[in-house]
Symmetry: C4
Subunit: 321 residues, 4 copies
């Protein structure tokens, strides 16, 4: 039987009709009241931003530290930086700036070099800051580069398909990445809204699946929720479900052999992404040399199908309390 | 039924009345008899200290190694270090010190350079030590920076609230971080003290919750322990619980999507952090564009509420053996 | 009873007789329709290729970046790069190329050094690119080097052996690596093909094992699937199984103490890798000082053995629906 | 009931009486027949060796690469390496060697610098090798430094203690590290030998514990195996157990908060490490300010105690088949 979940961390009572709970990218439609810097963990912030923004942050940080040190070297006077060989025809500030660059990156050509106590000591500090700072920068570059993520292809629609002598809600999924996904686990949460006076109450059910785990996922996996009289979908017409503002939230977790780590993926379907009376078409075929060929464009392919009559269509609301 | 735990690794028999078992920061109120250096794992020591102390340790270590090598270069005599270009007007010791700096950080300007066998060999060793030493230092900087930690907002008080036809102990929690927490698991341990002769015996119970796990935590989660006649809290007044020196210890574990790792959080409530007869107020609302707005200041917000009468108030002590 | 698995992510209905499902190296015999660059995650691509190819990619990338920067320095004119000391008798392009090398690797001898705004700025950018680029390169080198992998020795054949009063399917496995494998878990999937009209249907069963987990694996582990009347192998002759195009897929997961991580291993047996009527020979012995000596060459060693009669040989097909 | 384990990966049939199965350091008393280089995974080899050996390997590798490159530079002739400033009074080979040092570590002072095509190209390759090679070296240094390990204090003896109306086998353990251990799981395997003709058969039982997991381990944990008539220890005298060559193998797994990782620990007790008729003494006390003080020296402290009579001492061997 579909397990009802009270207060599953997503909210139960609302002052108004809320929109989509989970966005198509798997994020939740939740914001905070007022911005608070302390919520940002710097590491998380830098590892999740886009590559373009990340490099911009690096460049700005790099420029800022160089400008800062250049300013200090300049303040130490002309004698703080010496030039080996002939004098470079650039302004003193830029000489200090480029010397700072050589030091921060530890490239240290030596055409500019520090002279006197203050300048020597400062360049030592800068080299140390450079080493530690680039440790964080390069750690982040590699961390971002090697960050395990899932790239699952979901069927565009959830379908209501004939299944044995009744019907079932079905989704299909495939791993787009060129690596084996193993020990894949699925959780499907079904939610809808009931208005009680001024309040809107959200109900949540964990939909039982025929199988909620597969050992390997080299091809596709069709998740099947049989719509028996224990299902919150039982005996409901499409119009009724639309009124109930339903949403079907999918959570997948699997071990990606390429990363050697577990990855997660989420998706959600609203009523206009559910097709009534359909069945999935094959998305792969065997070619002449016996290998199986998967076509990602067909993961969501379906054709019309005639649904089975449900056992008790009208008088079964008690499951939805 | 609440499971009693004998000797759960926290101690059972005490020679005296002990204070709080778990501190508010989740650490245990346990010390060791006598200090023992071998208990410190250097990595753990360096990764858990404050950033200020950590940089102090780095700086001291960096200075120490430089001083050491500077001393040795100095002992090798004047001819061991050469100066390219004009002589820097600094004392020989500092010339050696700054040369050591250039070598350890591998910046190597070349205004100072080694000459002769000993000095050349030593600077090779120093460069190698610099590379390996900075590997540990930079590894620690990044390790500290990317270390997964939880930042949960707990309700300031645990409350005794009306629940169905009886009452329940409730806590509320939210994830303060700007990242999704998934697959959150809670364990609540209830402990109290019984005096037997000279000894004080601590009893431990694992409190059963309505749900001890949630799939997602974008908003708040109210943990609910129903006070049925199977609960060690059943039939007890606030005064009785105060005498029993109770403590409610919470342990949360979840998968933080921002870190891509599991994180842990702990908290504990003493009797003066428990409110009798209250219910939690909503901590979020839906705004005009349908998004849910969470207010962290209201995670612990409650109002007074009238408790249900308990079924058997007086004659139910046997559960507490 | 052997659990039948519908649509286990490996495909159920095929348009033709497919070849081996899982190859001997544990990969699946699945390809994609058309090549798609987006399927490749760059990190996965670089971490899974051979060492030879990896170093080739590094060398090409390194050369390309150097050529690019050398070209730009050259375009900046003769005055952009200065030479300390006597002029090196090499062509201007190569001077620019080697200067770029010194900068990208941050070795920065200073025999060539930048002069003027453009050249100085560019070399700063190049040093930064070098630091970030080598961060990815060196991260990948270490990531590949420390990547946890299993190296299991499987018995060359699966055997049908007498077992108690009936028979059993047995496999033997040992950990070839010089590190302790712990908490090893096995899943054995049995699959065969049924022709229905034009279609070929693949059936899958998870074979129950006497034990599907061991705490430690310092020696060998013999996985035992008893062929009771609940087994899909029950009552089948070798010829029948050959017609059914059977395949036995093994999945192992364990904690490798040397890596401090979980590792996975897969293998598959077709009908010609199954021996009828055999039992495994010992693969280890105790030597004079009481130590156990394991011989990896004998992990698959067996001798002929007489099978037990099966209880109901002929009339038991219903299990295979 | 104690679960008997057939062939648990540790070996069942032996040609002779074997010694200890598990050594006190948790390793198994197993060797391989003949040495095989392929068993060594280089990463595992380098991460598990002692620090002294590891630095020796680094030094030898570092010296070897330098000697190799020095030889090649020397073969390129006098003109391949130039000297900025006055000539260093060292032999040409050592000039090449120290130049190689400057290049491999990327310190690049520039007092020696390459000249001509071959020398410039070679130094570029060497700098690249240096960067990649030090990536592995420094990765290993940090990997070794941050490698999660457990340091558990086990009671020196397992004891047979009175327990309720019967007796129990007890062990005590504490976490020596200055970090919290959480979610600790214990598995205790009991093994003994039976001689059958020429062969020695090892029997294995997983001993059921009162609790095989604790949430936290800030103090000590006493593992308790009640010796009921389901236990393989039931009705046995110390002499009988000695004849049976028993061994008690303990495996602990916990989450170390300092490392943020799971750690493992193993130990084993032979018959002479089992004390008959004892009970553990307290290993901690409460001091004046209410804190609990743990004394690691007392983790194994016990005093004599009188055992309970067992229910059926003589006629209960069938459990041991």
């Amino acid at each position: 039987m579909a397990e009802q979940i009270k207060d599953p961390g997503i909210g139960e009572k609302f002052n108004a009709r809320s929109g989509r709970v989970m966005n198509k990218d798997g994020s939740f439609n939740v914001r905070q009241a007022g911005f608070d810097f302390r919520r940002l963990h710097l590491f998380q912030f830098l590892i999740r931003m886009s590559w373009a923004n990340f490099f911009l942050v690096l460049l700005i940080g790099f420029a800022f530290i160089n400008l800062l040190f250049a300013g200090i070297y300049l303040m130490l006077g002309e004698s703080a930086l010496k030039v080996s060989g002939e004098m470079d025809p650039i302004a003193p500030f830029w000489r200090a700036f480029f010397f700072s660059l050589h030091t921060l990156t530890t490239v240290g050509y030596g055409n500019f070099y520090p002279s006197g106590y203050a300048s020597n000591a400062l360049s030592g500090v800068e080299a140390m800051i450079g080493l530690l700072g680039f440790a964080v920068a390069t750690g982040l570059v590699y961390g971002r580069f090697s960050r395990p993520t899932a790239k699952m292809i979901y069927s565009k629609h959830a379908i209501i398909a004939p299944y044995k002598d009744h019907n079932a809600l079905m989704l299909r999924v495939a791993n787009f990445r060129d690596s084996l996904m193993m020990e894949v686990q699925a959780d499907i949460t079904f939610t809808y809204v009931v208005q009680v006076g001024d309040e809107y109450i959200r109900k949540y059910y964990l939909l039982p699946l025929e199988r909620n785990t597969v050992l390997y996922l080299p091809l596709t996996w069709t998740m099947v929720h049989p719509i028996t009289d224990k299902s919150p979908l039982f005996g409901k017409t499409k119009e009724e479900l639309k009124d109930m503002q339903i949403e079907i939230m999918v959570k997948l977790k699997g071990f990606d052999e390429g990363f050697g780590e577990h990855v997660h993926s989420r998706n959600s379907y609203m009523i206009d992404e559910v097709v009534w009376g359909a069945k999935f078409l094959p998305s792969f075929h065997v070619d002449d040399d016996g290998a199986t060929i998967l076509d990602f464009d067909k993961v969501g392919a379906y054709e019309k199908a005639i649904l089975n009559k449900e056992l008790a269509h009208i008088d079964h609301v008690p499951a939805l309390t």
